[in-house]
Symmetry: C2
Amino acid sequence: MQAFQIQKVSNQISAEAQHKIDFKTKPTGALGTLEKIALQIANIQQNLSPALLNPHLVVFAADHGLAREGVSKYPPEVTYQMVLNFVGGGAAINVFSKQHGINLQVVDAGVMGDFPLTLPIIHQKIGHGTKSSLHESAMTILEAEKAIESGAKVVQDIFEKGCNVIGFGEMGIGNTSSASLLMSKICHVPLLNCVGRGTGVDDEGLKHKISILEQVLTKHKPNNLLEILANLGGFEIAQMVGAILQAAQNQMIILVDGFIATSAVLVAHALEPNVLDYAIFCHQSDESGHKRMLEYLKVEAILKLNLRLGEGTGCALAYPIIQSAVNFLNEMASFESAGVSNRV
Amino acid sequence: MQAFQIQKVSNQISAEAQHKIDFKTKPTGALGTLEKIALQIANIQQNLSPALLNPHLVVFAADHGLAREGVSKYPPEVTYQMVLNFVGGGAAINVFSKQHGINLQVVDAGVMGDFPLTLPIIHQKIGHGTKSSLHESAMTILEAEKAIESGAKVVQDIFEKGCNVIGFGEMGIGNTSSASLLMSKICHVPLLNCVGRGTGVDDEGLKHKISILEQVLTKHKPNNLLEILANLGGFEIAQMVGAILQAAQNQMIILVDGFIATSAVLVAHALEPNVLDYAIFCHQSDESGHKRMLEYLKVEAILKLNLRLGEGTGCALAYPIIQSAVNFLNEMASFESAGVSNRV
């Protein structure tokens, strides 16, 4: 597997950045979460006046063999259709990215159907959907490695265009199942606490989904992280793992979306714990299990809007708040500069 | 007191708006809070393609006699200094308003010092700070009425410039005390559950604050809402009450900030319950008591960012999310238009 060198973020300017935050014209700590984000970004960039440059959002799409086992309310062809919807500008993530000037890229990581090569898609299909992990490994180790490399390459290309903040989204009918399996295995959490309704299965559907996933877990005996990813993951998740690792290696700010994106962070974090220093968790999903994932990583998300959509929508919606954190650090007056009394 | 005619928002187009929301290319309900906001705004504007026009944020500033009783960590002159900071563009609300293209207006509702009339401030001082409610009524009934009228006038003037969405913020050393008193009286909640640390008093300071406010509550025996407001309120809170009532009468979208702004909503709502139909609660403050206020009104806030700053910062930070709600309703493709399958 491709090796990544991910540095721990230095605390060298942390005290100075905190001092700058504390002497803005507001009570100490009064900007709450924004102050934490500002400090994190100043530390990542080692700069008391940080900047968000050429923001990007990459949506990885792929199909899942498991979708044939009736774990989702929607048919697998929706993955293909939604990619065309992304290209056509009609999906939620198009609307929110456009609103905030975020450059949106769509990656075919392994959708079942083939797209015309002329479409503005990054074509790096690992296969035509994964195998059903109910019967065999979702992908081979070689495919998992290739997916990590492809995901990393997308980020490297974007990085070279001067981007320093990047979010990741996904589309793949059946991928909450894959994310639940990864979570259960990596966090050692019973499957029941990892599985939710995805795009909205009913009680009966949920029971079926859990029963299928229990069988999948029993079937596979992976010996390491790469095998866990290959047995249970998806092509979009595996590419996202590579993307996250590359972004952290490049010391970019990483915007993490919901349940499935966080499952990719779980894998990346288990491989390279330092990735967390670069990650900003944007939205705590309505999908049950996501809260537990965030607790496992000991992180908190900026937004809780009961979204359960994926596509990177949580990243795009949180982006203006992250921008606000940078802006207050750069633009607010200090007590001294504004002539405001600091204490009684 | 000035009479307001506030219509209940009609549900006439509600079913059609919900249908439009449900047939966007996403699982039903997957945009969570954004779907509720979109529906509320469509209903307020009676329009399936609503729009946010010429957004404004008005910060009402005033001083409090109670501030002399040591209920705040900051000296009263900070109110005056912060108004100058607003005018100079150095406060948090300046930064966030500018970021989102929100027109910011500052109102002197009753700051102790006098501002040069040439400054870009709406000069409508009701008095040089309120009296200390520990000893007498914070203001007279006439002053409370005048404040409501003045607040309403500000909104009417802005409305006539084509604004249909307006947020309200405040600045006033000592005003969390005033808000706590109003809350206790209107919601019939013990004072202990209404009082927090404001700008950051320590344990000793908090004990003192509570003891002072208990004495204030014992002293006054108001017979109606206007007397409650006059006895316990502040000039900025009273002007905000008028502003909220006028905005609701004009069927504008009202953005509600944190603890103090919500105390003004409590008064406005007690006078005219229909105001809630027009209100979007932007941020649940870190100030203890605010959560209980929101529960009393049976509403939920969009953001929980542990802010405790006021100034309307919660409104400005939530604004892009409200805009996203409008945008997805207007811009997303439907299942039909995008050729995406709606069900298995």
